[in-house]
């Protein structure tokens, strides 16, 4: 690798280069998942981290007698915002402006990035400090700034680890969840000196010492910075207030030290009134870090001479959100407050980690949000709605009650529908034939009799490894063969005379019977291929 690849100072880059390639070009989920599953270190890290945080969340949510009411309230507020988004955004703009902020509207990532680049350039600086923010990752702001010769420094500890590690976040709350302390130490020793204050040579992998090294490294950047860039967890329309919730105090520094603050925020982050914060400031910390209250809640409600940023810009980003809003089912994903409880509880996420999702939003929320924001043209985005067993654990913990499994099914339907229009595959043929058979009890009964033959012919009760596609099942599991007599046959032989024959739909017409046989043989052929 050359110095340019690594983003060394002296090369054209100012900050460490992230991995090459675009997220949207990631391989489909099952392919990536297989690769990450094989990484036992990653799985151990993830298991440890997610099970710890799961237990904490369970404890602190159980102690509130009104937890369910809070969730219902959160859902109701977010749904009201979705229904009247235009109204609340206008109110927000008015009140932000009255408070002395400049409001900018960005239809997509390119527009948002251009606005920020222009604002930073206008200040005549070539570096900014950043508070961890999902939307700036979504629009790839850091790379846009880099391309404009502006260095964006991440100041959240885990984001710093990711940035210095030439890496991508794999979790929305704990972006470096896939790294262990030994790796963090190596990254700090190797990279910090290239981008600012070096880590002490004596650095060991004690979390305390690692945090101290980060603090030293970042301090210079905080004190130097003229521009801070943040997102917002909430924006209050009624008061024109920006709310940032965090744990490390780096956010507080970015929001108060630099003269200029640029807050880049998704349009769905608006809430109607300050009173609504009562709900969300209880829901968010308990769901995300498992704390009763987060350590730092910063609220900006106006420019005050001599105190905090003197120039404030708010960039309101759409980037696909109004398209999501147009779908009354899909829009429920916009309720998300990015707490990460769904990924911490997800057994699929726990095994494969965030990178397998090919998106800045991993886990269950990523699986329902990314294919809506980016569309379903890319292979990864078409595979995401299927990256779940539909076990429903995510919906049970989601603080704003997003019915994640329902949305997954909704998006599966969208993907299948789009594919149906473009070409006909084996799966569709099987589903179509199967759907026709299952639409009628008698047809199904006839198919069953054909199936019974298999068992009689082979004379076995279960099978071990089989060729593809059955191998997908049988390489790790036995497959029992159906018993000789189906229930329907048993019923006819043992109970039928007792019941009411007039209730049955009647026998098959001859032509139907013929079709059932051909469906059966078609499926058998398909399976044999």
């Amino acid at each position: 690798m050359t110095a340019t690849d690594l983003g060394m100072p002296g090369s054209s880059r100012r900050t460490p280069a992230p991995p090459a390639g675009r997220l949207i070009d990631s391989p489909p989920f099952p392919v990536a998942a297989k690769q990450y599953l094989a990484d036992s270190q990653l799985r151990a890290n993830l298991h440890h981290a997610t099970s710890t945080i799961r237990a904490k969340r369970a404890r602190v949510t159980a102690e509130l007698p009104n937890w369910e009411q809070l969730r219902l309230a959160g859902e109701a507020v977010k749904d009201r915002v979705a229904r009247h988004l235009d109204y609340y955004l206008e109110e927000l703009e008015q009140n932000l402006t009255a408070n002395g902020a400049h409001v900018h509207w960005a239809a997509d990532a390119a527009e948002a990035n251009q606005i920020v680049v222009d604002l930073v350039r206008a200040k005549g600086v070539d570096e900014v400090v950043k508070v961890k923010s999902m939307v700036t990752q979504e629009i790839e702001l850091n790379e846009a700034l880099e391309a404009a010769g502006i260095a964006a420094w991440e100041t959240d500890l885990a984001e710093l680890i990711v940035q210095l590690g030439h890496d991508r976040p794999s979790h929305i709350l704990v972006p470096a969840i896939h790294r262990n302390r030994a790796e963090v130490r190596e990254i700090f020793l190797r990279e910090m000196k290239l981008y600012g204050r070096a880590a002490p040579d004596s650095l060991d992998d004690e979390p305390r010492h690692l945090a101290a090294a980060a603090r030293q490294h970042l301090r210079d950047k905080f004190l130097r910075a003229k521009v801070g860039i943040s997102g917002a967890n909430f924006m209050v329309a009624e008061t024109g207030t920006l709310v940032v919730v965090e744990s490390e105090g780096n956010g507080r520094m970015c929001l108060t030290l630099p003269e200029t603050l640029i807050s880049v925020t998704g349009i769905e982050k608006v809430i109607p009134t300050a009173a609504d914060l009562e709900v969300f400031l209880q829901l968010l910390p308990r769901s995300s870090t498992g704390e009763r209250m987060n350590p730092y809640t910063s609220m900006w409600s106006g420019v005050r001479p001599g105190d905090g940023p003197q120039e404030v810009h708010v960039v309101l980003v759409d980037n696909g959100r109004s398209r999501v809003l147009a779908d009354p089912i899909g829009r429920k994903a916009l309720r998300c407050i990015r707490c990460s409880a769904c990924m911490n509880i997800c057994p699929v996420y726990e095994r494969v980690g965030g990178h397998a999702y090919g998106s800045v939003y991993p886990g269950p929320i990523g699986a329902i949000l990314t294919p809506q924001l980016r569309g379903t043209a890319a292979a990864i985005d078409r595979s995401l709605p299927f990256a779940s067993t539909l076990c429903g654990a995510c919906a049970e913990v989601c603080p704003v009650r997003i019915p994640i499994p329902d949305l997954l099914v909704h998006l599966r339907h969208r993907v299948v529908d789009e594919r149906k229009r473009s070409h006909l595959g084996l799966e569709q043929a099987l589903m179509k034939g199967g759907g026709w058979v299952m639409a009628s009890g008698p047809r199904f009964g006839l198919l069953e009799r054909a199936g019974g033959l298999v068992q009689r012919v082979t004379g076995r009760e279960a099978v071990g490894p089989l060729p593809w596609p059955a191998s997908l099942w049988t390489r790790a599991r036995d497959l029992p063969l159906p018993p000789e007599q189906t229930f329907r046959q048993w019923w006819r032989a043992n109970r039928d005379p007792l019941c009411h024959p007039e209730r049955s739909e009647g026998s098959l017409r001859d032509d139907e019977a013929t079709t059932v046989t051909s469906v059966t043989s078609a499926s058998a052929e398909a399976a044999a291929e």
Binding site: F29, P30, K34, L37, P347, V348, R351, P385, F386, A387, T389, L390, C391, G392, A393, A395, E396, D406, V409, R412, H413, V416, E427, M431, K432, G434, G435, W436, V437, M438, A439, S440, G441, F444, E448, G451, A462, P469, L472, W473, T474, R475, A476, R477, D478, L479, P480, P482, P483, Q485, F487, R488, W490, W491, R495, C499, H500, R503, S504, E505
Partner: protein, 251 residues
């Protein structure tokens, strides 16, 4: 037990039970009859359509919705031993009728859904029983399936019934509420993640030292497949089959 006017129950056997696990609906018939019900099996029934719905094939699932209302209209008690299929009827059939824009079908669906019960709901809530007079002298552990917990929402009724079975020892399953990784077509579309989850579930089951794993049949296919491959010696069984066992008719 039930008295003079016998309750008539329409059995929704479900397609997977019909073909792969006929002992489960058979046991349901025997159990309900033993408790004084008259059981009917409307032959027009086929399947809940869940495999189609959950894979995104709504149109293909609609036939199942129609056959379900045709088969079960007119019954006061529709009972199924499968929480997963019953959950699909409850949660997805109205959604599919709405998607199809078929108001009439939606009304019919709502009417049958209101009269549909998962077996343990019927036993505990309608018949008012937790002791069904069963005898099963074995050590068992119970895996509550995700759909029984979070879709059909049958709660702890299965455990309450199991605790009243004579001779039965119920041992807790570690991480019981964690998914076994089956997920219908997930097991084929994401086979690697699925088998990793199934293996962990099987490890937890083995750690209990139980002779039997009691669970619903889709998950039984999955976990049972791993238990069988590893020659663990642990047998799998459906709750209805446990409850149908009586002293004298020992397994």
């Amino acid at each position: 037990m039930m008295s003079e006017s016998r309750t008539t129950v329409a059995l929704f056997a479900t397609c997977i039970n019909d073909v792969m696990f006929p002992d489960t609906p058979k046991a349901t018939v025997l159990l309900l009859e033993r408790l004084g019900c008259r059981v009917e099996f409307p032959e027009a029934q086929s399947c809940c359509g869940q495999m189609f719905t959950n894979t995104g094939y709504y149109k293909e699932a609609l036939g199942s919705v129609r056959s379900f209302v045709t088969a079960f209209a007119g019954y006061d008690y529709i009972v199924s031993p499968s929480p997963s299929c019953l959950g699909s009827v409850r949660e997805q059939h109205p959604m599919l009728a709405e998607w199809a824009g078929d108001k009439g079908l939606w009304r019919e669906v709502e009417a049958v859904v209101a009269r549909s019960y998962e077996l343990t709901e019927f036993l505990v809530d309608v018949l008012g029983l937790t002791d069904v007079g069963a005898y099963f002298p074995h050590k068992v552990t119970y895996h509550p399936t995700c759909h029984s917990l979070r879709v059909a929402k049958i709660g702890d009724r299965p455990q309450r019934l199991l605790r009243q079975v004579k001779g039965l020892t119920l041992v807790p399953l570690p991480d019981a509420e964690q998914c076994c990784g089956f997920g219908g077509t997930f097991s084929l579309k994401n086979p690697d993640v699925s088998t990793s989850m199934a293996a962990e579930k099987a490890r937890n089951v083995t750690s209990t030292g139980a002779e039997y794993l009691v669970t619903d049949n889709p998950c039984r296919l999955n976990i049972g497949g791993v238990l069988a491959r590893s020659k663990s010696g642990i047998k799998t069984i459906h709750l209805a089959e446990v409850l149908a066992e009586t002293e004298g008719g020992a397994r």
